[in-house]
């Protein structure tokens, strides 16, 4: 047993796996309570995403959104900034990229990059706002980001209904984007795999966002672990007083943390409009607002593990969708599973044999003598 519990990395992984398993078990118990056919419902939930090619496509597509959102949240949480603003940033990202896709007459290879840039920029700016309020006005970021989310969603609705929706349309949504405004398939049209490509693109909607997601992950990792900004971000998160004392401009760092986090959320929004829906629809962010949190927590705020966590969690979400479609259990069960995962992973004392630290540094004066003794 010692070799298992010895290394902290192994302990953490084990801990997270156990938390996920416990959450899934609870999900199963709930399913048994409400479903007439719990076994089939749960089978659909657990194995559905792999059962058909198009379902694998759905899973991977959603995982890309989750990678971006998970990175957005990890960056903020690593700096101990409890930003919950991803939803609003995502809505604006979707709107900005959608407007470019619809109205800017450029060819595909210019229009898509411009749309992505617009999404990143608006995410950056809308993210910087609560960062500024926190750093310079000392306004609690949890409340401010939630309020800004509410504002962003209403502005999104307003713009969509009053300015973008074609007159006379029945639904509150835009026209479908033109070909030049839609993310192309992840396989470039090369002659030697034309056959495979046609087969795959018919079945799954996997776009170049896959590469952007991978690039985003690599950049985020490099920035956090290897750059001066990453160092500043981590020091602010570990001990902001130390950071200030050491000469780090903590206020600027906080604003940047929120803003950089917003870039990733904005890109997730662009993925929704340019890739997933290929038009602007009402409630485009629905259900994704807080999903970045569970991904970040499963990855312990380390960008390195975000893709893994995103694929794992995306799988569960995709499974929940299939379960809702094929059984009598609603997909919201996944939210309960999600909440349990967050609770179990973040509870330090839940799995005592893999408890990390015994003397916590925050234990202030009472434990100080002991620490010196050690």
């Amino acid at each position: 047993m010692k070799w298992i519990t010895g290394s902290p990395a192994v302990r953490e992984t084990l801990r997270i796996l156990l938390a996920v398993l416990a959450a899934l078990l609870l999900g199963f118990i709930i399913t048994c309570l409400v479903s007439k056919d719990p076994l089939n419902a749960y089978r659909a939930f657990l194995f559905g995403p792999l059962s058909r090619l198009n379902r694998i496509g759905d899973w991977l597509e959603e995982s890309i959104s989750l990678i971006l959102l998970g990175l957005a949240v990890s960056i903020a949480f690593k700096a101990k900034q409890f930003s919950l603003g991803a939803e609003g940033q995502m809505a604006f990202g979707a709107m900005a990229s959608g407007v470019v896709a619809l109205f800017v007459p450029l060819p595909l290879f210019l229009r898509i990059p411009l749309a992505l840039l617009a999404a990143a920029l608006i995410g950056f700016l809308w993210g910087a706002l609560p960062g500024y309020l926190k750093a310079y006005m000392n306004a609690n970021e949890i409340v401010s980001t939630l309020m800004l989310n509410a504002i962003a969603l209403r502005l999104y609705d307003y713009l969509l209904i009053f300015h973008i929706k074609p007159p006379g349309a029945g639904y509150n949504q835009s026209d479908s984007f033109p070909e030049e405004g839609i993310l192309p398939s992840f396989m470039p049209p090369l002659p030697f795999w034309e056959e495979t490509r046609r087969m795959l693109t018919n079945q799954m909607n996997l776009t170049v966002m896959l590469y952007i997601g991978v690039a985003a992950f690599l950049i985020a990792y490099y920035v956090m672990a290897r750059t001066p900004f990453g160092y500043e971000l981590r020091m602010v998160g570990e001990n902001i007083k130390f950071a200030k004392y050491g000469g780090i401009n903590t206020k600027r760092t906080i604003v940047l943390v929120f803003a950089v986090s917003g870039i990733f959320a904005g890109l997730a929004g662009a993925h929704l409009s340019l890739g997933v829906h290929q038009k602007l629809i009402a409630n485009i962010t629905v259900g994704l607002g807080f999903e970045g949190i569970v991904v970040a927590i499963m990855a312990r705020n380390n960008p390195l593990f975000v893709p893994l966590a995103a694929f794992a969690y995306g799988y569960l979400r995709a499974g929940a969708d299939i379960m809702e479609r094929t059984s009598d259990v609603p997909r919201e069960m996944i939210l309960i599973v999600q909440a349990v995962i967050i609770l179990l992973v973040t509870a330090e004392y839940v799995l005592p044999f893999i408890k990390q630290r015994i003397v916590k540094p925050e234990d202030s004066y009472l434990a100080e003598g002991d620490r010196y003794a050690a």
Binding site: P228, N239, I248, P361, D370, A373
Partner: protein, 514 residues
């Protein structure tokens, strides 16, 4: 005569394997002042926490008045008549004195807290034991000495027969210390028993009738205060001979490094913290700042290191303005700062030792090249500093939180000294550090001085200031009330009069020394 408190064979092993007490014996007679001395980490605090019910011993027994007792919480200990005055006071700042005294056992009237009664109780206690306080005053506005009185009254209200005073004089002026000692003698006359924890040997010999020495979790013995010498006590505490004097090579005053003129600093609400402060520090000089804590020392260090804005005045470092600059800018001009509260400000605990070294230099070469931080260079720096400063750690990648207090302080010293400062601000550099590390730190400060650095030494430990400083400036309510050029001829008592604002130099007298 049997002992009132007797602790036999106490063993305490913490879950992380640290042995704090290792078969400790300790006994105290009734109506006696008994001192418990030892270095930090010797196990004094743990032993007292066990007596006060805050920790359970792993084994061993406690006898109170000959009867075996077992305390599971502070509540049990309080009920048995044991009271403790903690080093950092256990008071609620926004509550009144009376509310603090009765907290936890408030007098009730018709189910509601009876404030009037609480005030009466406070007055009665204050009169009985000669510890005057204003029951209605808000604790947040009280001086440290007053707060300590409130703490003592609190334990007396709970019927304490045995009072544990944990380093009670660490934050007091010599005069306040004398007040405390007078109060302690009054308490003894009224039949109370006092356990006095300290590592100041002078005081211990003055107040206590018996002294118990602890080292490495064991008691080395109990001695009659009158028949032991400082040297013997010190040797027992440390386990070897200690140099009670630091060799100081007198240094020549040379170039002016820092010039502070009419420095004024106010709190955000407009309350003055530093009033018209002027002084100079020269290359190769240690200027000591003496004063009761809370008279502007903390703020002085913060203002000079860029962590706090100044309202007016000027401070020039080699002729360049350093007030109201960012901490980064100030550091770049050659200021290093050993902060007062190292755990809060000086370190990031859950970060590697190496990354703690680079907070002031990660952004320039050789640690940064292009977009990235050069971790190869960071590791090399880590190795170099760990060796040079004898920091006990398995590698630079180790988290700081796993180091001992003395080693944590060395991490800070290593970083700040290696920046080769022109001005070094050292705030409480040896607080909470054991005697061995204190010697090391003093030696390093003197080494920096001989390299030509100007050092501003802020310390609550008067003997430290007298020992190290070339000149001493006394701060009282943010004002310079006296400056002395020959510390060797000063006594703690003289300084105390200035620290309390009873004496003040005239501008002419100061001019002569400035």
């Amino acid at each position: 005569m049997t002992a009132l408190v007797e602790m036999r064979n106490i063993v305490k092993v913490y879950p992380n394997g640290v042995v704090a007490n290792d078969g400790t014996h300790f006994s105290v007679m009734r109506a006696d002042i008994h001192a418990l001395v030892g270095e930090n980490g010797a196990g004094k605090s743990t032993l007292m926490k066990i007596l006060y019910g805050m920790e359970l011993p792993s084994s061993g027994e406690i006898l109170l008045d000959g009867k075996k007792v077992r305390f599971h919480s502070a509540h049990d200990a309080i009920a048995a008549g044991i009271g403790m005055v903690h080093q950092n006071f256990m008071l609620v700042p926004s509550f009144s004195v009376a509310e603090n005294i009765v907290l936890g056992q408030e007098p009730l009237r018709r189910g509601l807290v009876d404030q009037k009664r609480a005030e009466e109780i406070s007055n009665e206690l204050a009169n009985q034991y000669g510890l005057k306080v204003d029951p209605k005053a808000c604790v947040a506005n009280l001086s440290v000495g007053m707060r300590q009185r409130v703490e003592i009254l609190k334990t007396l209200y709970r019927g304490a027969q045995v009072l544990i005073l944990d380093e009670p004089t660490a934050v007091l002026t010599p005069q306040e210390t004398q007040d405390l000692f007078r109060a302690a003698r009054t308490l003894i006359e009224q039949g109370k028993t006092i356990i006095f924890i300290s590592h100041k040997l002078n005081e211990v010999k003055e107040i206590a009738s018996y002294i118990t020495v602890m080292r490495a979790g064991k008691t080395l013995g109990t001695f009659e205060s009158a028949s032991t010498t400082h040297k013997e006590l010190a040797r027992m505490m440390v386990g070897r001979d200690v140099l009670l004097e630091t060799n100081r090579s007198s240094s020549e005053r040379s170039a002016k490094v820092l010039e502070v003129k009419n420095l004024v600093c106010t709190s955000d609400s407009g309350k003055p913290i530093l009033r018209n402060l002027s002084f100079n520090i020269y290359s190769g000089e240690i200027l000591g700042i003496a004063g009761v804590e809370g008279n502007g020392q903390t703020e002085l260090a913060e203002v000079l290191s860029g962590l706090r804005p100044a309202a007016s005045g000027n401070a020039l470092l080699h002729g360049k303005k350093i007030l109201n600059q960012t901490p980064r800018r100030v550091r770049e001009m050659g200021v290093a700062h050993i902060p007062e509260d190292r755990l809060k400000n000086g370190l990031a605990l859950n970060v590697s030792v190496e990354e703690n070294f680079i907070v002031d230099r990660y952004f320039h070469s050789p640690y940064r090249r292009g977009l990235g931080v050069q971790y190869k260079q960071v590791r090399a720096l880590g190795k170099r500093l760990i060796d040079a400063y004898g920091i006990h750690t398995s590698s630079g990648a180790q988290m700081v939180s796993s180091l001992s207090g003395g080693n944590m302080q060395k991490v800070i010293l290593a970083r700040e000294f290696s920046a080769e400062p022109r001005l070094l601000i050292a705030a409480q550099p040896t607080r909470g550090v054991d005697v061995g590390s204190t010697e090391f730190i003093h030696a390093r400060l003197i080494e920096q001085r001989s390299k030509g650095a100007a050092i501003l030494l802020i310390s609550a430990d008067l003997s430290e200031v007298i020992k190290l400083a070339d000149r001493i400036l006394v701060l009282y309510e943010g004002e310079n009330v006296g400056i002395f050029s020959d510390p060797a001829r000063l006594t703690e008592e003289t300084l105390g009069l200035y620290m309390l604002g009873i004496q003040k130099q005239t501008p002419e007298e100061m001019e002569a020394v400035l």
